[in-house]
């Protein structure tokens, strides 16, 4: 008998009910009195057996959580991730199940100890010291040391903002020394790729988190590849509620919806166009804060030096005309069926707090005037050459948005030609779609071989940016760096909200990146899923999820077969 049960019995030793006495009590009653006596007995049973109880259903252990993802592969090594890449979103969620951080941020704005139990910094915010939790073990039962933590942080240090620290280990403490103040270090460590791990000689990683990777089953025949995670019994924060987690990869979005409906999956990704359908079919849908930004990057690859223009001024003019021409409200509300929000800033409202101060102005007349002035000096023939718009954001949705951009641009007298990319943009971390093709958007679809002449006028890129950091400054730094946006040397690397606002204001005014829409992440949940308590910025907390198989449909813990 478990200790839990014993306690309850010791606490209430009067719960024994003797069958003979019960029968006597009922038999001695007149027929009219029996219902009343039965009721009294029931009350007595309740009173003596339930003097204390778990209220809102307490979590239960056991079961296999079935997760389906669209991503074709998982990369659990944070060093391999590219900042801002939407493709790495699934990697981040799964890594969070395997690795821990030094600190976490809860939904109430409190930093909570994770692998670090204490932290402090000097007055200049340059030297940070973390005291590590004792007796933490990796999933192979080996002990976590300060050297492990320092090694992991050192690997990830180039991603910290504003500069790379020197990380040293001393007994059970880790010290990070920065060349400039980093008052937002906790925000950075509580988010993004800043996990703690041990790198084995063969390059594989060990984690201290609630799950560990137990098996990788490659796709075979008509089955999907899957990663199998098992609960880590050594986890310092307690083992997860589910025993195992199966993550099927490369599952088409529509198939995921079907599997959710059929009870074959517990957690699936939903694309925005399927959210309404899922809601109509009474499926549970969780929505994060907007975490994905679609934006248009403007560049003049070959500045018209012969005309005496500077590249920056030309790009700014083009950017301004495009920005005014774009109808973001229609994109968000019609094209994306209200599953997105118009974006006027780089950082979302939930992260910066000030995003709504920026306006999304739509003025086609002014856009026409600017584009007219911009293209007219080049002569009529050149003015008709289209700008290339490379769709570098993945997915069909990106192409839809790009087509809308092309239509809006054409309304302002700017011809745009759509292109897809299959290559990966170095440094930017933004993967292109795997398909080649041109847009069906009427007259905006032009032959791809016009590219060389179009280069004279500049080019456009449609990019998607996944927000990762809980530090506004770090997120903006990452964006500026990855997208190679203009950056003034005089800007102080400060996380102060007002200075960040001014900096973002200048970046927006430069028009080299035009925000279009921001979109949340949509997750479909099976009916047995309980305590799905993600953070609004998108962290899932899979270890806290448990399965109520009595209430919901049971997912089959087997790999589904791919549809032909």
């Amino acid at each position: 008998m478990s200790s839990w049960k014993r306690t309850r019995m010791l606490a209430h030793p009067r719960t024994k009910v003797r069958p003979r006495a019960l029968r006597r009590l009922l038999l001695t009653a007149s027929p009219g009195e029996r219902p009343a006596r039965i009721t009294c007995l029931l009350i007595l049973v309740i009173a003596f057996t339930c003097p204390a109880s778990r209220a809102a259903t307490a979590p239960r252990y056991g079961g296999t959580l079935i997760v389906e993802l669209h991503a074709p592969a998982l990369v659990l090594d944070p060093v391999a991730w590219k900042v801002g890449s939407p493709e790495d979103s699934a990697n981040l969620q799964m890594a969070a199940a395997v690795f821990d951080r030094l600190v976490t941020l809860d939904r109430f704005g409190r930093f909570q100890p994770a692998l670090a139990t204490e932290w402090s910094h000097d007055a200049a915010w340059r030297r940070w010291q973390f005291t590590l939790r004792s007796a933490v073990q990796f999933s192979d039962a080996s002990a976590l040391t300060a050297a492990d933590v320092a090694a992991a942080l050192q690997e990830l240090a180039p991603g910290l903002s504003p500069a790379k620290p020197l990380v040293t280990a001393n007994a059970n403490r880790v010290v990070m020394q920065f060349p400039s103040p980093v008052p937002d270090l906790l925000e950075q460590l509580a988010s993004g790729r800043n996990f703690i791990y041990r790198r084995n000689p063969d390059g594989t990683l060990l984690g201290t988190g609630p799950f560990y990777l137990a098996a990788v089953v490659p796709a075979a025949g008509n089955t999907f590849a899957r990663y199998e995670f098992a609960g880590n019994e050594h986890c310092w924060s307690g083992r997860p509620f589910v025993d195992r987690m199966q993550v099927a990869l490369g599952v088409p979005i529509l198939r995921q919806l079907f599997d959710l409906q059929l009870g074959k999956a517990h957690v699936v990704e939903l694309s925005p166009e399927l959210v309404r359908r899922a809601a109509q079919e009474n499926l549970r849908v969780w929505t994060s804060s907007p975490v994905l930004l679609y934006a248009l990057q403007v560049s003049t690859e070959s500045p018209a030096a012969s005309r005496g223009d500077t590249a920056a001024a030309r790009a700014a003019g083009l950017g301004e005309a495009l920005s005014l021409a774009l109808d973001r409200d229609t994109m968000a509300n019609v094209l994306l069926q209200k599953q997105a929000e118009p974006a006027a800033s780089f950082l979302p409202q939930w992260l910066s707090g000030y995003a709504s101060v920026f306006n999304t102005e739509n003025d086609v007349t002014r856009a026409k005037k600017i584009s007219g002035a911009l293209f007219a000096p080049a002569g009529a023939q050149n003015a008709q050459q289209p700008l290339r718009l490379r769709v570098e954001a993945p997915g069909d949705l990106a192409r839809l948005i790009a087509e809308r951009v092309a239509i809006n641009a054409r309304q302002a007298g700017i011809a745009v030609q759509l292109q897809s990319r299959s290559t990966v943009v170095q440094g930017g971390g933004l993967q292109g779609s795997a398909t080649q093709g041109t847009s069906p958007a009427g007259s905006t679809t032009l032959a791809a071989n016009n590219a060389s002449r179009a280069a004279d006028l500049g080019s456009l890129r449609l990019i998607a940016w996944r927000y990762y950091s809980l530090s506004e400054r770090a997120e903006l730094d990452a964006m500026v760096s990855a997208l190679q946006l203009a950056r003034s040397d005089t800007e102080a690397p400060s996380p102060n909200a007002e200075e960040l606002f001014s900096r973002e204001q200048r970046l927006i005014a430069a028009r080299s990146l035009i925000p279009l829409v921001v979109m949340p992440e949509y997750i479909g949940l099976g009916s047995p899923v309980r305590d799905w308590m993600p953070e609004r910025w998108g962290a899932w907390h899979l270890a806290d999820v448990w399965l109520d198989e009595k209430r919901g449909d049971t997912a089959t813990p087997a790999n589904g077969k791919a549809q032909p």
């Binding site: 478990s2 200790s3 839990w4 049960k5 014993r6 306690t7 309850r8 010791l10 606490a11 209430h12 030793p13 029931l42 009350i43 309740i46 009173a47 057996t49 339930c50 003097p51 204390a52 109880s53 778990r54 209220a55 809102a56 259903t57 307490a58 979590p59 239960r60 252990y61 056991g62 941020l105 109430f108 704005g109 409190r110 100890p113 139990t117 204490e118 932290w119 910094h121 007796a135 906790l186 310092w236 924060s237 307690g238 083992r239 997860p240 509620f241 939930w350 992260l351 707090g353 000030y354 709504s356 101060v357 809980l470 506004e472 102060n496 909200a497 007002e498 309980r530 305590d531 308590m533």
Partner: protein
């Protein structure tokens, strides 16, 4: 758990929310070209409780009125002054932002101050005397695994107990036990507040459980039993006046934590019996939430009736994670996780007869 927290930004350390509101007022005043007569439009678009927003607004207006004639203005109302300063309360994952948009000759200036969200976390440690159907007894940030009330002394009380107000052990007086992952704390209820009698830590024990497992119960000999994952303790009341409660613990190996703790799940009745002198009959308090993600309510149901025939209900701002009847069966203690504030609240839920 001891934390050396260093989370406030440089300009925010040791500043109260009111200080920050005053700082914003001064920054707005310093903005150039501000006409003498301005109106202030204040809005709260954050999750900050409206009462807190009003306090900030009043502080801001008081500071601001030093140099300017102003008219406080509701959002959307026509401007009654030369210019309108729009102040809004916004939020980020770690901070609340007070953002002022100030009209100026060059356009609209934006001034911001921020204050950590933690500035508004609950600091109170006692209830405010809600007496209708629930009474907040205790609120804390650390998890509360169990809250139980037992009458001590007299028949059924911990054996050998003598009256001693200093230890909460006055004969027959109810004592409230709060179980935390690191300690059990004994309280005495004085009117609408709890007074700490004694805190007994589980020395050398490391609590590991996601499910907030842990329970307090009464043994046959009147002592108090405490069970945590991997630990069993016995709490003995003072035998003589002046003595303290005594806690003795022993590790109890649990071969399979999941099975051992999961066994309790089957006994998930989510209801307790309740009685009241003024209302004949027997009643049950029933929790309705299905998991810990949603606000809960307790329904008062006649023991002979179904749940949907509840005669009264009490709403809570989060899931009722534990429900226990007081020793006399006339009230219950509910441990609630407040989804809005992140605090663990202990309520006494009682049947109130008449008005």
């Amino acid at each position: 758990m001891i934390l050396a927290l260093a989370t406030c930004a440089e300009s925010l350390c040791a500043q109260t929310p009111e200080d920050v509101a005053r700082a914003l007022a001064r920054r707005v005043e310093d903005a150039r070209d501000l006409p003498q007569a301005v109106s202030v439009e204040w809005s709260n678009t954050s999750s900050l409780p409206e009462a807190q927003s009003i306090i900030l607004r009043e502080t801001f207006l008081k500071e601001f009125s030093g140099r300017h004639v102003f008219v406080a203005k509701a959002p959307g109302a026509p401007a009654a002054a030369n210019a309108v300063v729009r102040v809004s309360v916004r939020e980020t994952p770690t901070s609340f932002l007070l953002l002022a948009q100030v009209p100026a000759a060059t356009g609209v200036l934006v001034r911001m101050v921020e204050l950590p969200r933690t500035a508004f976390l609950p600091v109170m440690t006692r209830g405010n005397g809600l007496r209708l159907t629930r009474q907040l007894l205790w609120q804390q940030e650390e998890p509360v695994l169990d809250a139980e009330e037992f009458a001590v002394g007299g028949p059924g009380g911990p054996g050998g107990l003598v009256g001693d107000p200093s230890t909460g052990a006055s004969a027959g007086a109810p004592v409230i036990f709060l179980l935390r992952p690191d300690a059990v704390v004994i309280y005495r209820q004085d009117d609408d507040r709890l007074s700490e009698v004694q805190e007994l830590p589980f020395s050398g024990y490391r609590y590991v459980s996601r499910g907030l497992r842990g329970a307090i119960g009464k043994e046959q000999d009147g002592s108090i039993a405490i069970v945590l994952p991997g630990l069993r303790c016995k709490l003995r009341a003072p035998a003589t006046t002046g003595e303290r409660w005594n806690l003795s613990c022993a590790a109890e190996a649990v071969t399979n934590v999941a099975d051992a703790l999961g066994a309790d799940s089957a006994n998930d009745a989510r209801s307790i019996a309740l009685s009241a002198a003024c209302q004949p009959g027997s009643w049950r308090l029933v929790s309705v939430a299905t998991d810990w993600t949603q606000p809960d309510k307790l329904l008062l149901v006649s023991a002979a009736m179904k749940r949907d025939e509840a005669v009264a209900s009490v709403d809570f701002a989060g899931p009722v994670q534990h429900l226990a009847a007081a020793d006399d069966g006339k009230s219950a203690l509910a441990v609630v996780f407040d989804l809005a504030s992140g605090s663990y609240d202990v309520y006494r839920v009682s049947m109130v007869c008449g008005r």
